[in-house]
Symmetry: C2
Subunit: 410 residues, 2 copies
């Protein structure tokens, strides 16, 4: 009989192999305004006290708290307005007993003042201010360093920089930030029949689907895709394409991994490195190769995805994406693509013995399995996500709750 | 007594007002490789049949199915190998009875052939091929147009373009794609005390936090932030800053909305448009203004966020983000930020009468409320997400399940 995959590896075993890959991360310094979506590569310490001075945390009147102790709504206290300090301005005088200072949120508290009465509990009367509520010392003010003391740690290395974290960097006026460099991922499609989108579709040819599909999936993992053009199903051409990316951190190919005549990737990887996995007991995605390239300055991981576009994308999401995210420095619960619990629209029979990944479309909180050949482009067109059927499960009943991993999220 | 917000609006009412805003979307044509994360602004029809010709869907041997009907594992059929057609090549001869053609996945089926025997069920013997398994007509082949017929609709206008959809565009060789133009959002911080990150922090001043926080939150909604610099708490300066963005689709300011001395935004918006909402019964975020600018070619929505950074970000996420996503053309379940169910780490008391948004940090599937003043930068530094306490709920018990909206996701 013909060639077969002699050693299909269990998907859990494959994940273990990938988890053990060593990772070397590079860093770079960028402007803080460009850090959205990046990963901190250093601990960020406060370079200033926050607030940097005692300040009002409400609009109102800075007072000596003891001057307000007897104030009530029925019996207001009358204080003399000695100064106006708007945010951004500086108080010029010391606050004396019986006086108050009109003050804006964020403005420095005049010396002598120890509280702020909110504007809502005051009234102006001929240059004097009626205070309708007592305040305790410290009320409505934020003391220097009360939020953060200079030198304290604010953000830890490894933090994903989201808008709130950009707020933190802004607060200390940090303009340059050290982040992990985005891993560079070479993306190579293999196949004599493949042509680029601007070329003429001659008889026998097909448009290259995987290059841009996988490149954009690489982007979704916080990495930068590098394009290769298309390799022929040919030892020398594929080897040359793989070797030309000396600056890539990872190589991802698709095609050229099946057990048939076109199985050139296996030979190339055996020659310039080591094949670790060749064949995974999943559906779709059986003809997947994972190896390590050892010829060169630094060992490089290579993922050889199937040529079939649905299989390539599913294998990428299940096996390559977690590694790419880890390489990019994304950690903890942000590593996972959050799943959505949905009810299955119909009974689903799975194949025995192989873990299966089933594309689904979502309609009104139900998941509809897309029952198409895994080469079907219409399956990709309709898909909103996928779910996993473990290898020991053969039937999932209609209405059962399943965990759907969305393919898409902004 | 001093100024107050006379008419705090209920958050559900505010959401209704926002839902009724009319939206005008602009479009642009871009290269398909740049469409990741964009929204289709046209239906995409298949410009070709897929597959474009009858092709092998497995590596193996193209045969006349009837030649294999008696083949079994014990009694193989012997066929003469008449030709080899690799993917990308074209068959030269018509397949005759008793013959077979070695064929690669994706290669055109020779005329006369009606099935492919997978390579796994064959063996080569002196130029002939032993076939160990019978195949039915049509087996392991994909007929022209069987996946998609030319002219059929593939993707609908409004689709978020994710890697799988880029696969669909690739499959038909579509190089230019019409997408919604990203809405342009002017982001303006207001405050006399505010300085930019590269400036010296003089006494009385504070670094502008909201500009870049909100700008990156705008990016997370599929929009483009336009920067304004910082407006003074001054009618003329703020009006000039707002008016200069004739090409912005929406304006978002922060600060200058509270009931105190600095409430200039309200006056500006009343002069060049209409204030729809001034004050929302939420915590944090009460001093929020929503209005419509009617002076200019096109009416423009303006969101006036509070100056306090935590309040500004929460109000942005709760009220502005859904509008921005809708304006960007993001629809359906992708509109929502998916929430995560977590257990509350401690009993939480909410304030009466106002919906409350509570920042939390996540540790091992528990949500820890961050009990800090909403001006605290350390709250932003620690936060992983937030949850909402509706206005009629006063206590949530320790261990209760809550829906957390993550602040961060790549």
């Amino acid at each position: 009989m013909g060639k077969e995959f002699l050693n299909l590896t269990d998907p859990d075993k494959v994940k273990d192999v990938i988890k053990n890959f060593a990772i070397i991360r590079k860093i770079e310094e960028i402007n803080f305004a460009e850090t959205y979506g990046r990963i901190l590569a250093e601990d960020v310490h406060a370079t200033i006290d926050l607030p940097p001075f005692n300040r009002a945390s409400m609009d109102g009147y800075a007072v000596k708290a003891k001057d307000t102790f007897i104030a009530t709504e029925d019996n207001p206290v009358l204080l003399n307005l000695s100064e106006v300090v708007k945010a951004g301005n500086i108080p010029k005088k010391r606050l004396m007993e019986g006086n108050c200072v009109e003050i804006g949120t964020g403005a420095p508290l005049p010396s002598g003042a120890d509280a702020v009465v909110m504007v809502e509990f005051t009234e102006t009367e001929e240059g004097n201010i009626k205070i309708y509520d007592a305040v305790a010392p410290g009320e409505n003010i934020a003391n220097r360093g009360s939020d953060i003391e200079k030198g304290n740690i604010l953000l830890r290395s490894g933090t994903l920089i989201t808008p709130d974290k950009i707020g933190v960097l802004s607060a200390i006026g940090m303009s340059l930030v050290t982040v992990f460099r985005k891993p560079r991922v070479a993306v190579i499609s293999t196949g004599n029949e493949l042509i680029k989108p601007n070329e003429d579709l001659k008889y026998g040819k097909a448009y290259d689907i995987n290059s841009e599909t996988i490149a954009s999936a690489v982007k979704s993992c916080g990495c930068i895709p590098i394009h290769s053009g298309i390799a022929k199903d040919d030892y020398n051409d594929l080897k040359a394409k793989i070797s030309q990316f000396s600056d890539a951190d990872i190589i991802i190919t698709s095609g050229g991994t099946s057990a048939g005549a076109g199985d050139v990737l296996n030979v190339v990887v055996e020659d310039i490195g080591e094949v670790l996995i060749h064949g995974i007991s999943v559906k779709p995605g059986k003809p997947t190769l994972i190896g390590i390239l050892t010829k060169g300055n630094i060992d490089k991981i290579i993922f050889g995805l199937p040529g079939n576009p649905v299989a390539a994308l599913v294998v990428f999401q299940v096996f390559a994406a977690p590694f790419l995210r880890r390489m990019a420095g994304i950690r903890g619960y942000k590593q996972r693509k959050e799943s959505i619990k949905l009810r299955l629209s119909r009974r689903y029979h799975s194949s025995r013995g192989r873990s299966q990944y089933v594309l689904i479309k979502i309609r009104e909180d139900q998941a509809y399995p897309i029952l198409k050949d895994s080469g079907a482009i219409t399956a990709l067109a309709e898909a909103d996500g996928y779910f996993e059927v473990p290898k020991n499960v053969e039937i999932i009943e209609k209405g059962d709750k399943i965990d759907v991993i969305p393919l898409s999220r902004l």
